[in-house]
C-alpha cells in the first residue's frame, strides 16, 4: 500500500479552474460581491480572461508595451465597466501563469479603457436576467433607467410620485414629461410601484431607495447599478470613467518576464 505524502498543491490552469485565492479575496473585498449569482458571473469573465491571456502571453518576447495595452483593450473594451475589472484580473492571472508579471493599476487602466460610453438598452438578455429576480426593486430601477429619454442623472431626482398609471399603463415622469417604459418591462415597473405603495412610502421618497428592502441604508445607488451591470451585461452607470491617460508605462501598466 502506498501513501501519498508530501503532496504539493497542483495549479489547475484549465479554463474551468476555480479562480485563485487572490481573485477570491479581491472580488469579496473590493468588488463587494457577496451575492453567489454575481460572483459566478464575475468568475466566468475572470476565467475567460485567464484563458485568453495565458494563450496570448505564451511567448518569450512581448515586444512593445503598446501591444500589451492593445491586447488588454481588446479584451475589455466591449464589456460593461463592472465586468472589465474581472476580465482584467483574469488577464493578469493568465499572464502570470504564462510566465509574465503584468503589473497594472486597474483603476487607471480602466480609466484609459473607457467604458460607460454605451447606454444600456432593453434586450432579451436584460429581460431574462430580470425575469427571475424576486425583489421588485432591481427590475423596477432597471426598467426606469431603460425607459427612453431617462438618464442616470434623472434617477436620483425621481421619487415614488413620478410613477403613475395612465391610460392603463404605468409611466414615469421625468422633468414633468410622462414617459412610457419598454413594453416588456412594464410588468416589472408595475410590480415595483405596487411594492412601494404597499410599503406606505411617501410620495416624495426617492425612487431607488425603498424602505422595504436592505437598500434603505445605502447612501448611493451605485451598488444597485453595479448589480444591474453584472446581472445584465449592460452598462448601467459610469464606473471607472476617468480622464484618459496618455502613457501606459508611466501610470498604469508594466510587463516583466519572470525568471524561468
Amino acid at each position: 500500500m502506498s501513501l501519498h505524502t508530501n503532496a504539493s498543491p497542483i495549479l489547475d490552469a484549465s479554463t474551468d479552474a476555480v479562480p485563485d485565492v487572490d481573485w477570491t479575496l479581491f472580488r469579496a473585498e473590493l468588488l463587494d460581491l457577496t451575492d453567489a449569482e454575481l460572483r459566478e458571473i464575475a468568475d466566468e469573465e475572470y476565467r475567460e480572461g485567464f484563458a485568453v491571456a495565458r494563450h496570448w502571453f505564451d511567448r518569450d518576447d512581448i515586444g512593445q508595451l503598446d501591444d500589451v495595452a492593445t491586447f488588454l483593450v481588446a479584451q475589455t473594451e466591449e464589456f460593461p465597466p463592472a465586468l472589465q475589472i474581472a476580465r482584467l484580473r483574469g488577464c493578469q492571472a493568465g499572464a502570470f501563469a504564462a510566465g509574465w508579471h503584468l503589473k497594472l493599476n486597474p483603476k487607471q487602466l480602466l480609466g484609459e479603457l473607457g467604458g460607460g460610453q454605451r447606454l444600456a438598452t432593453w434586450n432579451m438578455r436584460v429581460q431574462s436576467a430580470l425575469r427571475r429576480i424576486r425583489s421588485p426593486l432591481l427590475p423596477g430601477v432597471a426598467v426606469a433607467l431603460l425607459t427612453p429619454d431617462v438618464t442616470l442623472d434623472d434617477l436620483p431626482l425621481m421619487c415614488v410620485d413620478d410613477l403613475a398609471e395612465r391610460d392603463g399603463h404605468v409611466m414615469i415622469r421625468v422633468g414633468g414629461v410622462w414617459l412610457a417604459p419598454p413594453e416588456e418591462g412594464e410588468v416589472y415597473l408595475r410590480s415595483y410601484w405596487y411594492w412601494r405603495l404597499e410599503g406606505c412610502d411617501q410620495p416624495g421618497a426617492p425612487l431607488w431607495q425603498s424602505s422595504y428592502g436592505m437598500y434603505i441604508e445605502t447612501k448611493s445607488f451605485r451598488p444597485l447599478l453595479k448589480r444591474l451591470t453584472l446581472l445584465t451585461g449592460e452598462p448601467f452607470g459610469t464606473f471607472n470613467q476617468q480622464r484618459r491617460i496618455r502613457s501606459w508605462s508611466r501610470r498604469g501598466l508594466s510587463c516583466l518576464r519572470l525568471r524561468t
Binding site: R132, S135, W195
Partner: protein, 152 residues
C-alpha cells in the same frame, strides 16, 4: 395599488391525494396566466416558505438566503408580483401540510391582492386548528373535477 375586494375562499378535497391530479395541475401552471398553482412542500411551517412557494409559482428565484429572516418581505414581494402579473386565482396544492397560521397568512394575501384562493387538501388529515382556521374564513367546498376542468 392592491386590489381590495371580496375574494372567494374554496376548499377542494382530493380524496386520493392522487399524484396524477397534482401533476396535471402543476403542468397547467404558468407565470403569466391568471391562475397560479402553488405547491406546498412537506415541513412548511414558516410563513416565508409559503410566500416563497407563491414566488416560485410566479417563476421567481427563491433560494435560502438572508432574506428568509423576513417573512414580511417575502409576502410583500409575493403580493407585488401577483398583483402586477394580474393573477386572479391562487390554487394551493397539498394545503393539508399548512399550519393554521400559514392558512391565515394565505387568506391575508388573498384579501390584500383580491385573488380567489383555493386550497387542495386531503380530507380527514387536518388538525383541529386547521379546521378552525378554514371555518373562520368561511371556505366553501368545491369539486376537484371542476378545478381540473378549468385548469385544462
Amino acid at each position: 395599488m392592491s386590489r381590495v375586494s371580496a375574494p372567494g375562499f374554496f376548499l377542494i378535497y382530493d380524496s386520493e391525494d392522487s399524484l396524477l391530479a397534482r401533476r396535471r395541475l402543476l403542468a397547467a401552471k404558468s407565470a403569466t396566466s391568471e391562475m397560479l398553482f402553488v405547491d406546498i412542500a412537506a415541513g412548511t411551517q414558516h410563513g416565508s416558505f409559503v410566500a416563497r412557494a407563491i414566488l416560485e409559482g410566479l417563476d421567481k428565484q427563491t433560494g435560502i438566503d438572508g432574506e428568509l429572516r423576513s417573512a414580511a418581505l417575502d409576502w410583500a414581494y409575493a403580493r407585488a408580483w401577483a398583483t402586477a402579473t394580474g393573477t386572479q386565482r391562487v390554487v394551493v396544492l397539498r394545503a393539508h401540510l399548512l399550519t393554521a397560521a400559514c392558512i391565515d397568512e394565505l387568506v391575508s394575501f388573498a384579501v390584500l391582492t383580491g385573488v380567489e384562493l383555493a386550497l387542495v387538501c386531503v380530507p380527514d388529515d387536518s388538525t383541529r386548528q386547521q379546521r378552525d382556521a378554514l371555518r373562520r374564513w368561511g371556505f366553501a367546498t368545491r369539486e376537484l373535477a371542476t378545478l381540473l376542468g378549468e385548469a385544462a
